[in-house]
């Protein structure tokens, strides 16, 4: 398991050829081998959701996958959310609604919400609350995260 293997990760449309041990977690590879440090590590137990990314457009805990399992899959991280200078509606809604304080959990919440709203733009408030309870935040008491995601959902629907 110590022997490194060559794989290519595709993150936000860019290919990263890297050499990793088969036991290396996806989040470690994204951060340390590909240099994309926007994805954060909060627990490595798959509980907190700070490391949530989109794997083939589905929200996933990147601490619970091995990097080798992600080869050939389309990975999306927080770095790919904005369109150049133009922030994603969720990013703008988090700023406008004070949806973050320390910001550590924010990339995970943004990717979780992006994945869900792309699949279910008409998700009910109740179901959205269930989805958002997948991830942990220690600063906001969730009040303004919920507000921000609901605001972004409304904006995304109106387009």
């Amino acid at each position: 398991m110590n022997e490194k293997v060559e794989i290519t990760l595709t993150i936000n449309g860019r290919n990263y050829p890297i050499r990793v041990e088969p036991r290396r977690t996806l989040v470690d590879a994204i951060r340390d081998d590909c240099g994309q440090t926007g994805t954060h590590i909060g627990c490595e137990h798959g509980v907190c959701g700070s490391c949530t990314i989109l794997v083939d457009d589905e929200p996933m805990r990147s601490c619970l996958m091995f990097a080798v399992q992600a080869e050939g899959k389309k990975l999306r991280t927080v770095e790919g959310l904005a369109d150049g200078e133009k922030l994603h509606p969720l990013q703008r809604a988090f700023i406008e609604n004070h949806g973050l304080q320390c910001g550590f959990c924010t990339p995970g919440f943004l990717m979780l919400a992006t994945g869900v709203l792309e699949h279910e733009p008409d998700i009910s408030d109740e179901d959205l609350l269930d989805v958002l309870s997948s991830n942990l935040c220690r600063c906001t008491g969730y009040q303004n995260i919920i507000k921000a995601v609901r605001a972004a959902a409304a904006e995304m629907r109106s387009r």
Binding site: C43, V47, C48, L132, L136, C137, Q143
Partner: protein, 623 residues
């Protein structure tokens, strides 16, 4: 035993002897972890050219870390640069010095290299600092009308295996001793507070520091006393809350103007108590158990150096300095010793400075968390930064403003007193003669000859503030439903009526309250560090130690009152910890109210389903 404090007012014995009724409780607050989402980490880099080490680490106190590490290694402080970048939450846990920070710095110098360490969640739960582990016995001695005459407490804190720097392990027991009378008017008070060393993880500050336990103890006492006197819990508190200000407490603390009664009235009104009582009684007949709980409390914030000196502390972190400079382009840089990590302090300080200088917050950049670029300061903790760094910002901005209007007066051929600064423009009041502030700034650097030698070049001022300390206050009120079959608790409504003086940025204030209340609810219901009988820790993952999710935290309704105090030059009081201080008591009082038909008393937190079921079973057996 490693810490012992004792206090007893001279009149205590006589006051107690005159009492008509005594109410006693044994309180237990279980061990908890502040749990910032980012565990600790650090990176030490040796620079072979300068011989300096740059230590980047997750801390709330970069300057104090530099001093402590340099002391321990025996190196000049000037050879160590400490950077606290965007820190992923702290809540007190990142105040304390970690041995790893010292070791990394030592190794970087010794090996002339770069070296990093990061803690994982398991390590954070096992070996980063814990808090709240206290046993409290509290006795209230009342007159015949429910007025508290004498209060006595015995506080025992399990401070763990070692002390901590800079607060020391005395922080919990001695804070309990100093603050126990809380917002209640009681002239006589006795307390024994002890800290004992055990084979558990050390305790250090966590949001609220001891006051969640103090408030829990007092508020359980008030509810028990209300039952003993057959009074409404609101009336019980009304008879005992401080009403006249300034008020000097039995422990010598001076309470500035506050609104204890008024916030309680607002919270009670928001819950519509009569309608709730009717519904509560109806639902009981349907086998549903609802309860209402209150917590009124004071939150001491913005302590100056005398407050720390009075506690006998060697380090008295009561002041902050802000260095303010307007550059020749009219942009402002504020370098601060405080070290925010999610509190929005850069925003609020920019507002204070921009308001004073007549510019917009976007033109004010606040620099923090780098010992090379900021004046010495203590950092961000103890609900202090807006009061102290905000006060220092205002002092520095007033000085800078005075110089700006003097120069503008020269340039506009008017008296400095007649210059108004607004929206980036200096105007002679009542005229259309005006200059952009940026033009005034340019002249301050490039055209000093125009001021006739009585004004020196440049626009840089410094302000330091060491306040007397102030008390913000709040009333938290909760309605809960307890499932008596499972012991599960659902919070239906949570109301905060708070008074932290002037609100500089209401959105940030509400954000602090939301987060604080969520941690308080977690403390009340969910979170507990558990050891087995031989001292092995059992809660080493987030599947065992249970922070709340969006599902467990109800919508939080906030009402603001603004009592403007002379104890803070911005009139703002601190409030970062208040949410966590009040919520455990409000929630557990509500649980007890819901369970009142069963004659149980839950006097500990977290009030887990197991504890609630055990209490109900014990009550059944004894019935």
């Amino acid at each position: 035993m490693i810490v012992e404090g004792r206090v007893k007012t001279p009149g205590f014995d006589a006051a107690r002897a005159a009492a008509k009724k005594f109410v006693t409780l044994d309180i237990r607050s279980h061990r908890q972890n502040a749990l910032p989402m980012e565990p600790r980490g650090a990176h030490a880099a040796f620079d072979a050219v300068t011989g300096r080490v740059t230590l980047t680490l997750s801390t709330q106190m970069p300057h104090l870390m530099r001093t402590a590490i340099a002391d321990l290694i025996g190196m000049p402080e000037s050879e160590l640069r400490v950077i606290a970048p965007d820190v992923g939450g702290g809540f007190g846990q990142k105040m304390s010095l970690a041995p790893e920070f010292v070791l990394l710095t030592f190794l970087a110098r010794k090996l002339r290299t770069s070296i990093a360490w990061s803690e994982d969640r398991r390590e954070n739960l096992m070996a980063c600092f814990h808090s709240r582990d206290q046993y409290v016995t509290i006795e209230g001695a009342f007159d015949g009308n429910g007025k508290l005459l004498a209060l006595s407490t015995d506080v025992l804190a399990n401070v763990g295996a070692y002390s901590c720097f800079p607060t020391t392990c005395a922080v919990e027991p001695l804070m309990a001793m100093a603050e126990m009378p809380g917002p209640y008017d009681v002239r006589d008070y006795a307390c024994v507070a002890r800290g004992v060393v055990t084979n558990t993880c050390p305790m250090a500050p966590y949001r609220g520091v001891s006051r969640p336990v103090v408030t829990f103890s007092l508020e359980r006492l008030m509810d028990k006393a209300a039952a003993a006197f057959a009074l409404d819990p609101v009336e019980m508190r009304r008879r005992n809350l401080i009403r006249n200000f300034p008020y000097t407490s039995a422990t010598g603390l001076i309470f500035d103007e506050a609104s204890y009664i008024e916030t309680m009235d607002v919270a009670v009104k928001a819950l519509n108590v009569p309608a709730f009582r009717a519904r509560q009684s109806r639902e009981r007949n349907n086998g549903r158990f609802l309860g209402l709980g209150l917590a009124t409390f004071s939150e001491r914030t913005g302590y100056g150096t005398p407050a720390f000196a009075a506690r006998g502390m060697e380090i008295t972190p009561g002041w902050e300095t802000v260095e303010l400079a307007m550059d020749p382009s009219g942009f402002v840089e504020a370098r601060i010793g405080a070290s925010p990590h999610g509190q929005g302090l850069r925003t609020t300080l920019a507002q204070i400075i921009a308001d004073e200088l007549g510019t917009v917050p976007d033109r004010v950049k606040v620099i923090h968390g780098d010992t090379d670029r900021t004046p010495y300061g203590f950092g961000t903790f103890a609900s202090r930064s807006l009061v102290i760094a905000g006060g220092a910002s205002l002092i520095a901005a007033r000085k800078l403003r005075a110089k700006l209007v003097k120069i503008a007066g020269h340039l506009l051929e008017a008296s400095a007193d007649d210059i108004a600064l607004k929206d980036g423009v200096a105007t002679v009041a009542g005229t259309d003669r005006a200059l952009p502030i940026a033009t005034v700034a340019r002249a301050a650097y490039h055209q000093v000859h125009r001021f006739g030698g009585d004004i020196g070049p440049g626009l840089a001022e410094s302000g330091t503030y060491d306040p007397p300390g102030t008390f913000s206050n709040a009333c938290h009120a909760a309605i809960v439903e307890v499932d008596i079959e499972t012991g599960a608790v659902a919070i239906e409504k949570f109301v905060v009526a708070e008074d932290a003086g002037r609100l500089i940025n209401p959105m940030i204030v509400d954000g602090q309250i939301h987060g604080g209340v969520a941690q308080g609810i977690a403390n009340a219901l969910l979170e507990e560090i558990v050891y087995d009988e031989t001292g092995n820790i059992l809660t080493t993952s987030l599947a065992d130690y249970l922070p709340p999710t969006a599902r467990e935290i109800p919508p939080i309704e906030i009402h603001h009152l603004e009592t403007l105090t002379e104890a803070s030059i911005t009139k703002a009081k601190g409030l970062g910890e208040g949410g966590t201080i009040g919520a455990p008591a409000a929630v557990v009082n509500a649980i007890n109210d819901a369970l009142s038909p069963f004659g149980v008393s839950i006097d500990e937190f977290p009030a887990t389903p197991q504890r609630i079921r055990a209490a109900l079973k014990a009550a059944e057996r004894s019935a």
